[in-house]
Symmetry: D2
Subunit: 431 residues, 4 copies
């Protein structure tokens, strides 16, 4: 494995609430002023060795991780606000947690975005690149090279923290091979080449791992897998697992473990940030819905326990609700049953008053750190062990692979990979 | 291991809502009319073997379990109602789920209870044995022998499903050795020998495993461990893990796994059955409180993650609320935090509208089945692998052992034991 | 006023859950077996007289009300099930509350419905009249005449308790005058003449008051008002005020009375009965949404208190959720503020676990009783005093009238009218 | 009526979160920087005149109210912190809402308190007067005179915004007449003369109206009424009606108005401020419990509607929960029923995430303004029309008077009094 030396460029697509909360928090931490709570790579200890040889170590003591001190931040956005202005607009952090790093934040100015309003309803920007799909790719590559050079970066990771795009079905021929995708870019096929694909392509072309934090299917296509393979690059996605789905992937395992039946699960969300506004449009929401709905079925297997999970009614709704700003609220209702069946139904209701960006920021950090680790370790293609951070984990569905959603099973995947890379046995079996 | 042949006598202390729901449900199942939902021994499949040899099997296909068809039911109560009358009073099951087994239930008449009102405030019964503590033991032993003979039982399991007794500290000298306990019984030491201890002693004296389903510290004492060792008997307890604590042992692992901090956890309960009435008395509640409060601390270790778990305010309240009857409601509020610390607090609220007896009945079944399995397998003393079903799992605190509360870690303990008994490798490591 | 003598025919459009719960409950009450809880005409006492002369009387002691013993039930439905079968399907009442009146219920067989699937998506029936709009009217009139004769009824009331139709804008010329509406019926104008209008027209043509219990705009049109005027008949509607809106019209007055500001109100509903299925279709839901959304604005007047109510975000969602059946759940979240403004926001969350038909049945009873009272008293046209029972009270918008939504103001309207009819002063002033 | 001219001294007992939020907000408002949301005297319009003559006017346009600009603030506390320091400790207001009035706040320094730790468990202060009860009274009188002189005040109002004292039964002979109370003070009867009584006595002795904002029974005794009568002074109390009880007095009227039955009402509260800490002690809580429990019974009269309200189980719990600070959360559960009785129960759950001081501050303002109005208008003794702001309104129980709890009935009392004082008819009848 290559060592974690030199600067790591962290380029974020979208410099809104999540990105600025992540950057400001990291900068504050460097000054000894912030807790990287929620960041597993920074705070967790995991077991290595078994029985007598059992030890609990911090992850950075098992494998070489990039230090939070060695990161350089940049990105793209459809608005020209610098990271300080954007953080103020986002209204997530208190003044006391932004002011000490004001100058660093002000220096982070977004590059013009590759953007196509047809792919994101209800969003209109002014800081936008012009050109065919291929020209956008070229401009993005140039952005990455320049950033790397100017900041003297050893390595770069590109991470999407921008809006949800409309649903792009990933079974079109144009997505099937790298050659086909490149041909579509050359032909400026605006219907099949989402702007997000331009970023992913440009990142990989410049030898940077790419991480998809929204539910966009951008790298969920064989063409991208082929490119990752060819370029020896790790890719990961999709959709940060933050509030309601995090909860879901913990409660569903509880039911399964205890053999409690599930009749229905209703999830509704209110949130008032830009993400909420975008998702209020049905065409954008569909992408999210697909990302969210799979969770329960893959944890509670109907075919194995038909009496318990054979007839589940699952519904997910997201509602734009401006009074809340970044403070999202998820309300879930589960109708469960057990002894003597459905006539003795019980209900679990979960009201999760969370903060979108506060939950997402440490996940951004973890994904960046892990993508860089994977890159240096020579791992390539889909990184399933990073599912732990993702709502709709990538998997090779062309091979019949199923995603792992159960949070604790995802954690096993994650720990096993860390153990392996650290020279230990990957000793936990996935169930 | 001895085979699971012949009749198993299931003797329950207390024939109220939980016991009759368990019995009626089991009898209905025998007639093909009921689902043993929530009963892990009957419904779960677990993995045995690793990698290529991985298989998923029902537990009964790995180890020989007593069949639900081979159980014979009996018990003690402070009221004379038979199991049918008691089930009607409890009001848990609908008529359609009791009528088909009415005759079997009517035939189950409780034996007179060993009872001391000093140990349970607010409860007054009429169907009660007279005598010194030693005489009570003798009468209970005689009950067990007679039941076994009359019902032609091969084996017997005794399980406590009665009320919570007042808190009995378990560090008194009288509880330290079997000889001391026997001396106390002989001396009719009513202060230190709880009625529940008479049951446990009588059960073991008659070669029956004993399971404590309430939070009573009855078998949480070295004297009982010594007896279990001497008689080669398994014992297990305490306090069925049903609603709120089940939830707690799932949500706390979620926080720990994701390195989310916890500032406070407030749990309140309303329930209207006899258990609620008893627990409304502060002296009884204290026993329950001790049982419930340990859960969080042992999952979220403050010393390992002081920034996240060093200052948790945990409070548990139980309220008698007659309008609900057996339908318990637990309301939990968690104050959590992560990125950038406590100034960015978030809240999780869980409202669990459950049914006390519907959740407890399958656990009674599982505990009976597992106790009998352990007995036939020659396991003796505290059965930690049965922690999975218990709110306050027994452990040898004189050796510094800590209880395992995390539901998924408990499940590992459970599965490993089943694997071992079935001749497979106990391949999951406890973290 | 005419006396309340002789039989009153109660003809319900739709014989589903609400109607059968209403009928079964009324029949049970006649047998001394049921409580008419929620029925204000049967249970409330109101004040008449002021100061020294103040008295509290039951409504039936102030004005002559039809007795529950004098009602004869009938109706129309798109299915042929009799009222007993329909009550069983609805699954609202326990067997013990239906069996004693089984024979009476079986004798109530629905007449074939006037139905047009274009007006109600997702519903398909088999017991349907054929014909042009005019022919449907004629058949319905014949039904009413026959029912009246066969049952020896002195008077008849017709009440709509069927599904929500798609939204019919009520500003079309065809709805403006009775002549225009009759011409449209004669021309079989299926686009503008909803089936519900055929019922309302037929009822009035046969001298029966008509009550609209769904949000359909059926009698919210000048043509119908003209007919009611001409025929000297009272009409009332629309949409039974049961769960979530009832709550809303109580909480909004609390805010206004205490000068607390409102930033947002989010309401979501899950329900699994036929009504839920119909409303899950966006085209049907729109009618309901219009009915539900007006409530807050008319109570909290933005122009009078712009600092408190000038910027309210109000959103209502209804979700079909089959696991619940008739047991509806409404979840509301209010974002409020007061001292020092919006930076010190507070939240009120209301979770209302209700039963659709149990809440609606007494309102059906009250509306029938009041409509008959109004009829005998010679009141004609829109009955604003019946707003108390309705989510979206009718009012003459062509005269700039505003609906009254505040529950307690509605109650004043109601009590004043009862007082007037009883010969007392209508002494409460509407604010 | 005397005009509202000159300065009004506002002397608060206790200068903690509520008092400083009230003062800071008022000062900010004077600078044009704050909204007096929740303050009815400042924001509401009420109707005067009936029918054609109906008008809606702001209260200050009907009767002469003291202007917020004419108030001078002072008070007593057991700590020496000035109002600025105390506001910072309270942590209720953001820096931006305190800084502009920092100097004014700093100038407000508390006078030493009359305090007796026997009356308030868990609270220990250092800024305390010494002396017998009589000497305390003399010192407090001297404080009031000095404050009045130094600040050139025309009038003074004294308001208790300090902790809940232990329950003092108000039927002791010593409380029965003014002479008896004065004798007890002279005899330094520390058991029967609560410190709060010293404040009330001193205020009235100095011709100042007294308002009790906690549930203390301090002025709920005939001795104090006699003094108020003799001195021609208004008194009002007790216990600010803010969160959970405000909600209760709105939901209970909803049930009664609609004839819905109530089986049980469970209320629990978590809060983390000083008030929460004090109320966590059972001896203090009892005073609050008495204050809170009466609410439902007086609104839902069991004797008038025994089938609906004859068997209500009402329970109130308050829990100290430090993670929340001043942000109180009340969770209520109502078990209701209607049509066909209790077998068809429904549940309403209300989760009120409020802010103690933000809700209380405008009530302090309203009570001060109204007490001063009453004083100038020559009203004396218990001011029932101020019940609108109070959880446990004072009333002359020796005459069999019952308190009015229904928020909307309280509002009628309030509006009628304003109308009367403004020369209009008090035209709303209380039901």
């Amino acid at each position: 494995m290559k060592p974690a030396q030199g600067k790591l460029g962290v380029l974020c697509v979208g410099m809104g609430a999540v990105t600025t909360t992540f950057i400001a928090g990291t900068l504050m931490y460097r000054k000894g002023l912030g807790l990287p709570g929620g960041a597993v790579t920074q705070m967790a200890k995991i077991r290595v060795g078994r029985g007598e040889k059992k030890q609990y170590k911090k992850i950075g003591d098992i494998v070489p991780l990039v230090s939070m001190d060695d990161m350089v931040f940049g990105g793209w956005d459809i608005f020209t606000d610098n990271a300080y202005e954007s953080a103020l607009n986002a209204g997530v952090l208190l003044a006391k947690d932004v002011d000490p790093v004001r100058d660093e934040l002000k220096a982070i100015r977004p590059m013009a975005a590759a953007f196509d309003p047809k792919f994101v309803s209800r969003l209109h920007g002014e800081h936008i690149k012009q050109g065919t799909r291929l020209e956008l790719v070229e401009q993005l590559r140039e952005d990455i090279r320049r950033f790397k050079a100017e900041n003297n970066c050893e390595r770069v990771v590109v991470l999407w923290a921008a809006s949800t795009e409309i649903y792009v079905p990933y079974f079109e021929p144009v997505h099937g091979t790298l050659a086909a995708l490149e041909a579509a870019m050359a032909a400026d096929d605006q219907e099949h080449v989402a702007p997000s694909m331009c970023y992913a392509y440009a990142a990989m072309a410049e030898d940077a791992p790419f991480v998809m934090g929204a539910p966009n299917t951008c790298i969920d296509i064989p063409a991208m897998w082929e490119m990752a393979e060819a370029k020896q690059l790790p890719i990961a996605g999709k959709d940060f697992k933050t509030g309601q789905t995090l909860m879901k992937t913990v409660l569903a395992p509880m039911l399964r473990t205890r053999c409690l039946g599930l009749a229905g699960w209703f999830s509704t969300n209110i949130l008032g940030n830009r993400d909420g506004e975008v998702l209020d449009a049905p065409e954008n929401f569909h992408t999210k819905e697909v990302s969210k709905l799979g969770v329960i079925d893959t944890i509670l297997k109907a075919d194995e326990q038909p009496e318990l999970y054979g007839d589940i009614y699952h519904k997910v709704r997201i509602n734009y609700y401006p009074p809340r700003g970044d403070a999202k609220e998820g309300w879930d209702n589960l109708d469960i049953y057990g002894w003597m069946g459905k006539d003795y139904g019980m209900q679990i209701k979960v009201d999760f008053l969370c903060r979108d960006s506060i939950l997402a920021a440490p996940i951004v950090l973890d994904l960046v750190v892990c993508a860089d680790l994977a890159h240096r370790a020579g791992l390539k293609g889909i990184q399933r062990w990073m599912s732990f951070f993702l709502k709709s984990p990538m998997h090779d569905f062309t091979q019949g692979e199923e995603p792992i959603h159960d949070l604790f099973q995802q954690y096993i995947l994650f720990k096993n990979q860390i153990r392996l890379l650290g020279g230990y046995e990957a000793d936990e079996e996935l169930d």
